[in-house]
């Protein structure tokens, strides 16, 4: 998996440190202690860096129909599913070697991620992601003219192990890297390529009016020539689209329209 190089940037340090202080149990512990307390899913969701994930219903996970074609993604599939929903006998876990248990933990996280990608495009999953979106759990757009628009997680691939999660801004319709290194290490396949599209199609009222304001660098009050020219050309493209949409009877003063 490729981790963008700025994710290790020093400017991130304070945020990460703050998060460290807040989170009680750190990453890979729990697995070696051998005791499994509470619900696996709750522990998973509570780990730092896992803020983008939502809670998948146990019924969804235990319905084999939903897991079609996932069997081969991890070894000992049934055990992994049982472990995920806290259905694995205590004795079995206690008899496992630390290495085996660690493998089980890794596999369970991976499978949870892959089920997650499917779940979040179901009606129930979309609803859960809507709550997280409203709480801006996925962060906000760093673009100045987007006015702190909440973002949506997205993968560039549906196959795990290729690239990490990115963030989609419904306002400028562009893709951003997560701010924190703990998020940029998460596999994009755990959210999938279709999630933001499904989300916005499911909740069209969440589609913001798009900003049209631009910034052109200035030198002592005068626009830089080349940059200003490009901006004008781009605005021409926007005007053409606007004209086309209006002829198709689309109201651009509503969701999905433009902010002037």
């Amino acid at each position: 998996m490729s981790i963008p190089e700025e994710s290790v940037e020093t400017t991130e340090q304070p945020d990460v440190v703050m998060a460290d202080a807040l989170v009680v149990n750190d990453q890979d512990d729990g697995s070696d202690s051998g005791e499994y307390v509470e619900y696996w899913i709750d522990l998973f969701l509570g780990k730092k860096g896992h803020e983008y994930f939502c809670d998948i219903d146990t019924e969804y996970i235990t319905d084999r129909f939903n897991l079609i074609n996932l069997q081969k993604t991890v070894s000992k599939f049934t055990t992994v599913v049982q472990y995920m929903v806290d259905d694995l006998e205590e004795g079995i876990i206690e008899s496992m070697s630390p290495a085996r248990l660690e493998q089980l933990e890794t596999d369970t996280r991976k499978l949870y991620g892959l089920i997650h990608a499917r779940y979040i495009i179901t009606a129930k999953g979309l609803q859960k992601m809507l709550q997280k979106y409203k709480a801006a759990d996925f962060g906000r757009c760093p673009r100045y003219h987007c006015n702190h628009q909440p973002l949506l997680p997205v993968g560039l691939h549906d196959i795990p192990g290729i690239d990490c999660v990115k963030l989609y801004c419904p306002s400028c319709e562009d893709l951003y890297n997560p701010k924190s290194s703990r998020h940029s290490a998460i596999d994009g396949a755990y959210f999938g390529t279709s999630f933001p599209g499904m989300f916005l199609q499911g909740f069209p009222e969440m589609c913001p009016k798009h900003p049209t304001k631009r910034y052109v660098p200035k030198v002592f009050g005068f626009d830089l020539h080349k940059q200003a020219q490009l901006t004008r050309w781009q605005e021409l493209q926007r005007l053409k689209l606007e004209k086309l949409l209006i002829t198709k009877g689309i109201n651009l003063n509503e969701s999905g329209g433009y902010q002037f």
Partner: protein, 277 residues
């Protein structure tokens, strides 16, 4: 306003630290470069700044480490000056420190437009000290600090990306309250003009853009969540588009919007292929 807490370390005498390096190395001050004292000592460079900042003289002395112990001459508060002198001196000190920071910021905004200043900022740029563009397709290119106003107290600092030519909010909270006027409105423009190779580099960069899809399919233009912002990252590609671009030299050629019924419009070809015209 920026710099809410004036440094409390300078309140004690004792071991002596140079003001400028101390200021620039403070947490959250990573975007500042060190202005050489000879630039500050040249009155010509400070023209007009005495009206911008309170306690100008003292502030200047502070920056240049010329702090005098005799404050009498500037004593303005005639009423209670003698009664609580110690207290006043302390208050004045933190006010002066604040003024010194403002004055330094304004001098900084001027310095970074000079050849030496641009060089100093270029070194910081190379070391990615202003951060990198958060936009995925910009491939972590470095950003440039930028003000949206040259007047104090109007806007905090923003970051300009030379690749997508867009403006971003600093990622780290410690840069969110920095005064934008300390970098000023002309800095990114002057920087780009001075380092032509940056523009050339950006021009050659690939202009990949993102399109939202569902199961691999484009979303229809008519849909509420359909593509409405592709123009924002669009560059002329075809001959026709370059022709159009030329016409945009001084104004938007509105006549190009008049005639066409949508058939020859170049954006139609570029946009979602799901919509048939």
């Amino acid at each position: 306003m920026s710099f809410i807490e004036p440094s409390n370390d300078s309140s004690d005498s004792g071991n002596y630290e140079e003001w400028i390096p101390t200021f620039c190395s403070r947490f959250g001050h990573e975007y500042f470069c060190q202005v050489p004292t000879d630039f500050i000592e040249d009155d010509f460079n400070l023209t007009g700044l005495s009206q911008e900042v309170a306690y100008y003289r003292k502030a200047l002395d502070t920056i240049l480490d010329l702090e005098s112990t005799s404050d009498e001459e500037e004593e303005k508060n005639d009423a209670s000056s003698n009664s609580k002198k110690d207290n006043d001196a302390h208050v004045t000190r933190s006010i002066v420190e604040h003024s010194a920071e403002q004055l330094y910021g304004l001098i900084h905004a001027r310095f970074i437009l000079t050849k030496a200043g641009l060089q100093a900022m270029a070194e910081k740029f190379d070391r990615k000290e202003f951060g990198t563009c958060p936009r995925y397709h910009c491939g972590s290119i470095q950003l440039l600090p930028c003000g949206l106003s040259d007047t104090l107290g109007k806007q905090t600092v923003r970051l300009y990306c030379p690749s997508c030519q867009d403006l971003y909010i600093p990622q780290s909270s410690r840069h969110l309250s920095l005064e934008g006027a300390y970098w000023g409105t002309s800095f990114p423009g002057v920087f780009l003009k001075h380092f032509k190779e940056l523009e050339d580099y950006v021009e050659k960069k690939n202009k990949e853009t993102y399109e939202l899809k569902i199961f691999g399919f484009s979303i229809a233009k008519e849909a509420i969540c359909g593509p409405r912002m592709q123009w924002l990252r669009q560059y002329p590609k075809t001959d026709e588009e370059w022709e159009e671009f030329k016409k945009c030299e001084f104004e938007i050629p509105k006549e190009l919007l008049e005639d066409n019924p949508g058939s020859q419009s170049s954006d139609d070809n570029n946009m979602s292929s799901t919509v048939t015209n």
